[in-house]
Subunit: 386 residues, 2 copies
Amino acid sequence: MKLVCAQSDLSSNLSLVSRAVPSRPTHPVLANVLLQADAETNQVSLTGFDLSLGIRTSFNADVWQGGAIALPAKLLVDITSRLPEGEITLDDESATDSTTGEGLIVTLTPKTGQYQLRAMGSEDFPELPLIEDNTAIYLTATALIEGLRGSLFATSGDETKQVLTGVHLTVKQDTLEFAATDGHRLAVVETTNERPLEDNEQQLEVTVPARALRELERMLAHNAASEEPIALYLDQGQVIFAWQNQRLSSRTLEGQYPAYRQLIPRQFERQVTVERRQFLSTLERIAVLADQKNNIVKLTIDSAAQELTLSCEAQEMGSGRESMTAEIAGEDIEIAFNVKYLMEGLKALPSAEIQMHINQNLSPVIFTPLGGLKMTYLAMPVQLRS
Amino acid sequence: MKLVCAQSDLSSNLSLVSRAVPSRPTHPVLANVLLQADAETNQVSLTGFDLSLGIRTSFNADVWQGGAIALPAKLLVDITSRLPEGEITLDDESATDSTTGEGLIVTLTPKTGQYQLRAMGSEDFPELPLIEDNTAIYLTATALIEGLRGSLFATSGDETKQVLTGVHLTVKQDTLEFAATDGHRLAVVETTNERPLEDNEQQLEVTVPARALRELERMLAHNAASEEPIALYLDQGQVIFAWQNQRLSSRTLEGQYPAYRQLIPRQFERQVTVERRQFLSTLERIAVLADQKNNIVKLTIDSAAQELTLSCEAQEMGSGRESMTAEIAGEDIEIAFNVKYLMEGLKALPSAEIQMHINQNLSPVIFTPLGGLKMTYLAMPVQLRS
């Protein structure tokens, strides 16, 4: 294997795929990045894989001699990212007659010097899952990013919660639904498919680990300007996202996802419309006091004054109270929340104004954006200690 | 006490002084910021003090009624920094008839709401050290920043190393010398006083804790454009830096500082002049490999080729070698360093080109900037394992 490529291509692609390289690999080869060079197409592909999350990208290079090799990910990323712009030669021809000892050696030759790194054979590197059937759903990058942004934050960070550590994707005729819950709150986003499913295609549900989707979100953020749709291949056990020269695959999470739709009430006794940013920044101040106690913030809804008041009593430290105008329909009520769940939901809601839909002070409250994306955020109120 | 001030003034000054508030106070009052309001001058001063480091700043406000009170630093910083721009009223008149219970309460009233915080009496707050004698040394902010930047990095982070955790300041006729060493390397910077000492004034030496000087560096960074000189009041036991509306005081460190001058050789057998940034960026790449082993980098000085080569062998991982042109006087030599000490010194040296002054491969090596600030950096070579 011998190739010449640009430092910027090698470095940026390495940094993408190395996100899938485990920091504590269960097998030594998983600490590597698989490099495959094709002399016919002059394409180099890089793969990182932790047996669950896999990332593969490819870029153009002068491939003098094709081949494949597994290279130590961390060392290669750290050295390559520090090299100046310019051409780099990668070469494993001198593998056996190197003075450094037996085994595979790859030589990295930038303009300024030479690095020799111990490598492993490509045959030890596990295969990425294949796309077996060819029917894909297509989403724009923007729609996919919106779906992820509106759901990922509500997943559980507790690994013992299994399916709750993932986002549940439901493919429907012409929409894709993203849902996430950690047992305390629920976020649901519906985005539009680029092309509707054909009649004979099956509706499908999978739960994808949040970790893989966070990486997907990062990769798409660099790519958001692209018009090319993202292809989603969903299968029991595997999901693959593919676009341009990049693809990300992930195992799905096993187990029944909660029937979340039935948690969302359809009728409400009260409705409050409020400016989202003002609500959020006020909560951030009240949270300073709530932090000192049990994280509980009280919302007082005053229909006559058309005013929403946030307050917190942290007896040993002090108390705080702020009010803002709101459009209120329904009777006055006092209702309390964990301030963290309110803030996280408000951050994710994508509109300038939001609506709270309330029944009683201990029944689920629904937050929706006013216009734009179809998103539903459900938060459970908590008991107010008096 | 009652005053009205701008949110931006209160917030920025609180964030400055709160740097001196200990996170784990030995006495409850030290978790507070002392606020003093003067109705005659319409000045508000804030003080944070951990019994070693003290920071005091002042700003203009409408003081309706003068007074002093100790306010909970963290809560006040966190709330104030999140408030929108605008006027804030601070008030402790309602202290005793508050419904929240007995004890001091301060009321913070921004436009949007009201916060009540439990406060403490100002009489419990310890006094900052006074400036007893009036003779000061004056430095420009730029000179002081240069002195700190060129020395602070070389202090020891190990609290058991006592005086080595500080920077040693020596006041001379018309210069101020900054010195720092952790036992492995030494940095010395000489800056010019704004006004020379008068003949009858005494030369003085003190060692100031790095922690206090790092805070000073932060404060000055916001203030570097100012032409007004900084006054230094040095005393056995205390040092005070004062400028405009701000002052920082610190206890000095007790104990004899090492006689570092005698460590610096005066004669050298070899001299190497090299471009600093190239040297540093090459070291950063070689350090990736050195990190894998014992952090040792080898410098090979080739007089005939006028070339400096950096290399590292990390046998299990690989090896690296890079060369750069250098102006070399003296015979060829191989010499090894801890890569961290080389990089930190090169980062702090303030010139485009630097000179290495070398004798033998185990005697101290001196690094100096070519032109500009008077700085000396000494690093001890290490044994090359063969």
